[in-house]
Structures are given as C-alpha cells and as structure tokens.
Symmetry: C2
C-alpha cells in the first residue's frame, strides 16, 4: 500500500509545483482514497496448506484482483484503507470447496426433469411419473432419472410395462441413478425403433425377455439407441439448465468443479455464459472424448478464460461402465451373475492411442475405471504411456472404485490421482456386497488404502449421480456411515480418513488433481479469494452436524456469489 | 483532457495537505503526463459518411480505446499530450476496407494447398500438380483448387484420367475456382467409394461417361461424397491456416470481413486465436447453417468478443449453386445446355422455415442466390417472412448475380442488401455470355441497377474464389474491365459506378450490411480507428493505378496490424 500512496504523493507534488496558478485556486473535491481491497473480519477461519497442515486465522485481506493478500491473527492490526469490509460475527470460514468429478449440464437438466432419486419403491416412482406428466404437458418427451431398483428392493430391473400404465401417449426415458442404464416406455422404444430385431451395440446391452423382445432397459452404449431419438434441447434450455447448475453448486459452497465429459454444446453454453458475464462458478473442463478436445482446445489446454472461470485442461476417457448396471468390468464374474464380468469399453491399444493423442499435446487424461479389471487396464496403460510422455502429467483414474488389493500400490507410482466419490460408498454398500461378495471388498472404495499407497486423493460427488453437497462427502469420508448412521461404526471402517484429509480431498487435493493448486483450494496469500461462510465449525462438530452443515455465503474471487436468504 | 488533469490536481492538493511531513520531503520523480492517445499526422485523408459524402482531413486523433476522436484540417492545432505520433509524410489514408463476403478458413487452407488459380491450360495445371506432389510428400491427400476449364479453353470438364498420369499413388481432390465442383483422381474416387453404382445425391451431380462411370468431377452436393473421405485437418493446421488468412487480409487492407458459412471448427479456431490474443482482423461471422448458429450463438447474436474482433451475427443459407458448374438455378434453361436449369437447394417452405428459425431469435439472414430463379425465390421468401419478423432486419442476398430485370426493383423493397462481388463480373464475363446468352445479361452483375432500384449495396470478393484484394474490386466496379483492360470501355458499361460508390461498397456499405455502421466503415469521430495507408490516391489515379494500389500499413483499433516491409 505505501508504495502506491508515496508515488501518488510524489506525482502530486510535481503537479502542484508545475500547475498554473488558476489550477491551484480551484475548489477542491475530496477524492476517494487509494484503497487496498476488502477485509473479511471476525471469522473462525481455517484453511489447509498443500501438506495438509491446518492454518487458522481471524481475518482475511482480499486484494483488488480478488486474491488473498493477507491472513490475520486476532492481535494483528487490520488494514484501514478498504473498498469493503464484512464483519462475519465469528462465523466459520473455510476455503471454497472443489468438486473433482461432476457433470455440470446434467445437474442443470436434472433440475427441470422428473427426479426419481428419492423414490423408495416402484409404486412411489410410478406416482411421481403420473404427477410430473400431469404438470408438464409441453415437452414431447418426458425425461427423468435417479431410479435405483436396488433401493426399491425390486430384485430386478424395471420394465416398459411397469410405466406404460402411467404414460402411454408420450415417450418416457428415465436414466438410472448412475447414468449407466435407461428405462424407456413402449412409446419411447417405438419412437427409437428398438425392437426384437435390434442388435446390442458394442459396449451396450438391450435387456430382453425370453422371446428376445426388449423389456425397456438399455445398458451403457445401448442408451445411445434411445438418446438419438430424443429431441435436442434448445439453446435457451441449455442456458437455463446451466444457470440452475451454477446456482446449485454455489449454494453447496462449491466454487470450482471439474466438468467430466464436456461436449461441444456444453462448451458453447459455458462460453455464452462467460461472454455475457454470467459465469460465477469456476469450470475445469475435461472434454468428453478426443474429438471435442481437439475441436475446442486444439493444440493444448486452453488458457484460463473469463478471469479464471473456464479452462479446458484435458479429456475424459471411459474404460468401463458402472457397478449397478453390471457394466463395471471385473477380473472375475459378478457374485450375483455368474456369467457376467461387465464390459470393457476400450481395448488396450485403443486406450493407449487415445491417451497418447491427448498427452502429446499436453492435455491431462482422466480415465473412468470402476471395476478391478478396468482399473488394472488403466494402470497398465498409464505405466506404459508415461514412459513416453514424461514430466508432471497427473494421470487421473476416475472413481477407482473396485481395485484389486494387489493393484493398490500401483496408484502411488507415476503420481496417479485417485479421483473418488465418498458418498458412492454409502449409497452402493449393499449393492457392492451383492455384486462382489465379501472377499472382493478389501479394495472397494478404499480411499485410506489409496492414501497409504501414496496415491494423490481428490474427492467429488459425481453429481447428479449423488447430490453435489460436499459436506455429505466429508461426513461419508470420515465415518463410512450413511445419513441414517448405517452401519454403526462404518462400513469397512479401516478405510475412514480424518477430517483434515477429507477436507483436503475437496480443496487442496481436488486443486492438485487439475493443476490448479497454485491458485485454488487454499486461502494462503496469492491464492484466489474463494471461500465460504458456514453455520457449523467442522473441527468441533460431530459427523452428523458436519453432514447437516449449511453454507451461508459463497465468495468467488473476492466477490459474493451466493447468499442464503 | 482538462477534466482529468484538474481532478488529479485536486486530489494532489488534498493529499499534500493531509500527508505527513516526511512524505512532503520525499525526493520527487517526474510522473508520466496524462496522455490522450495517438496522432496520425500529415496525411492525405479521405473517408465517407453514411450518405456517401467524401470527407477530407490531414490528421487524425485516436483515443486510448482505439477510436477516432478527432479529424484535423491542415490549419487545426494538434493535440500535444500524446502516447504516440506518426508522421505519414503526406501519404494517402483511407478507412480500413471491409469484405462483405469471404471465406476466412478456406483462404487460409488455400495458401497451403496446390493453387491452380493462375493456370492457363490443362497442361499447365498438370505441371503444377506434378511439382506440388514432388515437393509435398507428407499429406495423405493432395488438396488444391482454383481450376477453371473455361479459362483453360478446354471446352469440357477435366477428368480423373487427365490427372491419373501425374499422381496415381495418392488421392487428389481439386476444387473448381468457384468451389461448386471438385475434380478427383481415380485414387480419390476409389478411397471415397464413388463408382458407377453411386447415385447422385439431392442437390448434386456426379459427372459420368456414356457407361455411367464417374469421370472425376463432382458438382455441388456431390462434393460431399468425396469430402467425407478426406482426413480432417489437425487443430494446428487450422490455426496455421487462420494465421495465414489473417495475414493475407491485413496485407490487402482488410480490417474486417464477413465470414460466410462459419463451421463449429472454424469458430473454435477463431476463439483459440482470440483467447491467445492473436486476433487482429475483425470477423463478422455468418454460421454455415442453423445448427451451428444455434449451437454456438444460442439465443441470439453473440456480443462483440475480444475487444470488437469476433461476433456471430447471423446465418448463411444456400439457395442454389454457381454458374460455372451450371449449379445456378435459372428461370429458363442454360443457353449452352438446353436441358439444364441448375439446382434449387431448398424448396420454398424449407427456406422460409430456416429464415424464420433465425429471425425469431434476432439472427440476420444471408441467402446465397446466383441464378435468376434463386433470386426470385429469395425475394419471395423475404417478402413473406418480413411480414412476421418486422423491424430493421437487413435481409441479405449474397451474390445476386443473375437477376431477372423485373425482379430488380424488389431489392429496393424491404431494405434488402445486395452483397455483390465486382471481380466476379470480370472473371465470369465470357462464361456468363455462354451460359445465359445475350438476352439475359441485362440483370447480370447489375450493381448500378441495384443502386437505382434502392438496394443497399455491399461489396466483397468471395475470397478465395477471387483474390481478397479490394482494389481489384474497386477497379472492376468503376470500369467493368478485367486486369488486361478487356473489354475496352467495360462490359455492359451502363452498370459502372463512380469511385465514392465503389469505395462505399467496401466501407460504409459493407458495414451497414452487418449492422456495424456505427463503429466500422468510416473514420468519423466515435468510429473505430481502422485505417490504411496506401501508395496511391484513388481520387486522383487512373483505374489501372487504382488496381495496382499497394497497402503500406493497416491499422486496426488504433494499432498497427500490418506494415509492408
């Protein structure tokens, strides 16, 4: 500050000395003083450094560029020349949270579609579908998602005939909670021309009855048969969906998120928001394949756009499907389906080719791998490709959900990032036991073992598969109990981590996972002033209280982006 | 200026009065004075206002935002507080030129491909192909363009066998000069799977011999059969091509250009250039169809991006093909092909639907129409659609090349913009006579009649079909003679316009055609300081001298963007 004022005083002296007399006699108007930014004071502040050390503070100075310039302890003298000051009245301040794995546009679209995420039975879902169809008469297709036949206790996939009785006159397409399967009614199957003669596409499966007729559920790549018959959303629908997603994320205290699988239309939507000055959350984009990556970003990752609000850093590749739909690729057959091992999406050569195509131009590679066979394939590929593409590559494995214990240590090699979603563990627990059997659970959702093996851990939610709420993730990470406290003491409790480690997963770890640890994830001076004010101090709260934490304010780059009313 | 200095002096007085004593004793450093921008002085300056009036000046003051703030006459006192000053030493200064119809990426790609534009015979072209193949061993496909069988005096289309003897081992694809036909060698036909069994696609024609075998030329939509077999350019090749196009345009004094038919890959290339700060020419984009328009711009034209360097304003629609390949849609048969009338690309309903889809969201519509039937269809459609979409829409007809004289007056209605390319007239003259016969030439390339009918005239080059050089266009517009002076006195000389009108076509008229007349096309105060310094004063030069004009410097937004070495 003093340098600036001194320079101005010197300039003033010159001007006064050289100014004509009449200028000196002009009536003076009090000028605004040369301010230094904003002060957030009287906070119960926490942040982590990159080593996981907890740093406490009671005030934070933010410079004009929206970066942290100083952290104050209680006795420190505060800056007086300010543009603004917020007295937080003792509330808890945490670094803004980062979701290392989400799907931004899907979150937005989900908000306008039929939400079956909290349905407890098929009958419950049928009732919600009936209500939605009555209240939403305009869309040609009824879209929705969130169903989970495991949660319904149905013991089988639902079928078209289960919903034909509710909606017969319009096509209905409902995504499974994990996005790896779709339920269609008969009108939708007819509109898409899917019938007994339709063959299973590579990497996909049409569920069929004994006669070979489609039953209504389309698994993995077979979903595309239906998707291509569904009218594309209008640009204004995309813009509305993005606005909804952004509002939801900021309300959960998420200041930055990886967008895992950005399409060209997604990207254009983000750019429209940026061009119009509507971008408030920070988007770290992984293209949904090599083609959009090359078409959009071209010869390498984009620069940070819109004042550090949008950047395409790399590509998302899919190695297999998901566990619920038995699309996850396992080394040995499913415990509850002796003739199935799931589906590999890419052969070894294709995977290496795609990784090389990205790495040769400096793009980061994030590989979706759920099953232990997929994780092994991804690890093999990384080990081989890293011999050619050296340096700080931060190869990511997304989910790393079911890992053969013999493979765990390999995550610590090559600096691999395990990008995991703690809430998946609590949601999937019973299903995982059924699919895998007890013997294979040692490497399942094993974030503590990952850490011990030297992997870099990043946490996310995989929203909209799960709620984007990071406090649900933090609570799951430290308890391995679900929201109702099941199982008491936690499922495979040896995989719990402590609170700073859980918070690091959603801050410094998630930042490191996208090469942004120099500006995001921590509130040390020089980092962007992305922070949240919350109603609960997680360091003194019980896990139940942590799970119930409400974000009161979310600030991005020194500006308030969300205020709870 | 005085307001700024006064305020600073007042602030200085306050600070000195309130500063502690030690500050007053500090050693003083001379501060930079508050400058006002740049001065381009000692020029022979011309600009036009929107009414076509010529304004002369000898100096121009540019503000810090890159806009014209003042034009000086020789006696006027010049500003003294300047950031920079250029003494132009009496050179002629003109407003930066605007091409109302070009193809930016094609111009760039053409520069790396085989250029047959100046070949005088088939043998000449064969020689150039041989040399190119020898010098360029890497590309899988040899691409090129610019051939014109009329210019070669061949009396027929060239064939695959004409070039198989030169290149047999690699596919070759060579575009006709107008981009409406493609010549392939046998390797290319084989790679694309085009053979006697291949049917003509809608809107296209495969040239065939008596046995129905493809001869090698693919007209209009049939070109897509070949295009889809050609590997897509890499992003770095696109970036290089764009850089080349930008350099070429600036060297010709073009500061802004309409890009007629922007694809998503084109747009992403422009955005990469903008994101990296490499955008110097101003791009006014018309999407190559409704889908890219909606995907990119969404709910309406984009804002000006990158400090007024990129904006998508509307959509380009194609109503027919071109005259050379007999794709232009005529009311009566071709004079030299009694059973052909060309191809309509869109039926009436489809054209209206596309226009409405654009207009409902405020996008501008530019319709390619070459033949008199296509122009009539476009006029009919505009008259009807304008009843619903009112206000200042500036419907554009691109080329408006062959217009039935009874339709000319309709251009003056509905404020239609005739976006014409003067050089096409001199290039096409003999071909047009052959295709149309003398009786139909009254409404051919009839820019003076357009003006008299009250149409708004905008000029361009249709580069890379023609050179982007606007001085060639200005010379053609005022003489209707080709570069060798043929025919003396001009072809249909009643269609000549005067010099200010010709310059207006490339400045104020082209700006009006894209809704940018408030900032582009003129050097009146408030407009962007886009100007050129040239070696010839067109207002005192002969047409031959005008045609030979060289641009010495091109300035965009008050910054030098090109300097001839």
């Amino acid at each position: 500050m003093h340098a600036t004022r001194t320079a101005l005083l010197a300039a003033a002296a010159i001007l006064l000395a050289t100014a004509p007399a009449h200028a000196r006699r002009k009536p003076v108007v009090l000028p605004a003083p040369p301010n230094e930014g904003g002060l957030i004071d009287n906070v119960n502040g926490y942040t982590l450094d990159q080593n996981g050390r907890v740093i406490r503070f009671t005030g934070m100075l933010i410079d004009k560029a929206g970066r942290v310039s100083k952290l104050y302890q209680s006795g420190d003298t505060r800056e007086k020349w300010l543009d603004f000051k917020l007295d937080a009245k003792g509330r808890t301040l945490l670094p803004g949270l980062i979701d290392a794995h989400g799907h931004v546009m899907e979150l937005g679209f989900r908000a306008t579609e039929l939400d079956l995420a909290n349905t407890s039975s098929l009958a419950d879902a049928q009732g919600k579908l009936r209500d939605y169809a009555r209240d939403h008469t305009t869309p040609t297709w009824i879209r929705g998602g969130g169903w989970n036949q495991e949660r319904w206790g149905l013991g089988r996939f639902p079928t078209a005939s289960d919903i034909d009785g509710v909606v017969r006159d319009r096509p209905v397409a409902l995504a499974r909670v994990d996005g790896h399967a779709m339920l269609a009614n008969s009108a939708a199957l007819a509109a898409a021309g899917i019938n007994a003669k339709t063959r299973d596409p590579a990497g996909g499966r049409i569920e069929r009855d004994a006669k070979g007729n489609p039953t209504g559920v389309l698994v993995d790549a077979a979903q595309a048969l239906l998707e291509r018959a569904i009218p594309q959303p209008l640009p204004r629908e995309r813009d509305v969906a993005f606005g909804s997603a952004q509002d939801q994320l900021l309300a959960f205290g998420i200041v930055a998120t990886a967008d895992m699988g950005t399409t060209p239309d997604d990207w254009n939507t983000y750019r429209r928001a940026g061009d119009a000055g509507r971008l408030r959350v920070r988007l770290i984009s992984y293209a949904g394949g090599i083609e959009p990556m090359l078409s959009i970003a071209g010869t390498g990752p984009t620069p940070w756009l819109y004042d550090t609000h949008l950047k395409m850093v790399g590509v998302k590749l899919y190695d297999d499907g998901a566990l619920g739909s038995r699309g996850a690729w396992l080394k040995r057959p499913y415990a509850d389906a002796a003739n199935q091992r799931g589906l590999p999406f890419l052969d070894d050569t294709k995977l290496r080719n795609l990784m090389s195509r990205a790495a040769m131009d400096g793009f980061q590679v994030a590989i979706h791998a759920i099953g232990d066979a997929a994780n092994e394939q991804a690890l093999d590929a990384i080990e081989e490709v890293a011999l050619t593409y050296k340096g700080d590559r931060r190869w990511r494995i997304e989910h790393a959900q079911i890992v053969d214990p013999v493979d765990l240590k390999r995550f610590g090699q090559n600096g691999i990032i395990a990008s995991m979603q703690p809430v998946h563990q609590t949601s999937d627990r019973l299903m995982a036991e059924a699919r895998l059997g007890e013997a294979r659970l040692a490497g399942a959702y094993a974030w503590k073992s990952m850490l011990d093996a030297g992997a870099k851990l990043a946490f996310g939610s995989d929203y909209p598969v799960e709620s984007p709420d990071p406090f649900a993730g933090i609570a799951a990470a430290i308890t391995r109990e679900d929201p109702s406290g099941q199982p008491p003491g936690g499922w495979h409790p040896e995989q719990k981590v402590d609170l700073p480690t859980a918070i690091a997963g959603f801050t410094t770890g998630a930042a490191y996972a996208s090469f942004t640890e120099g500006i995001l994830g921590s509130l040390q001076p020089g980092h962007l002033a992305d922070f949240i004010l919350v109603d609960t101090d997680p360091f003194t709260a019980t896990p139940t209280q942590i799970r119930a934490t409400k974000v009161q304010e979310t600030w991005v780059g020194g500006k308030r982006a969300f205020l709870r009313k």
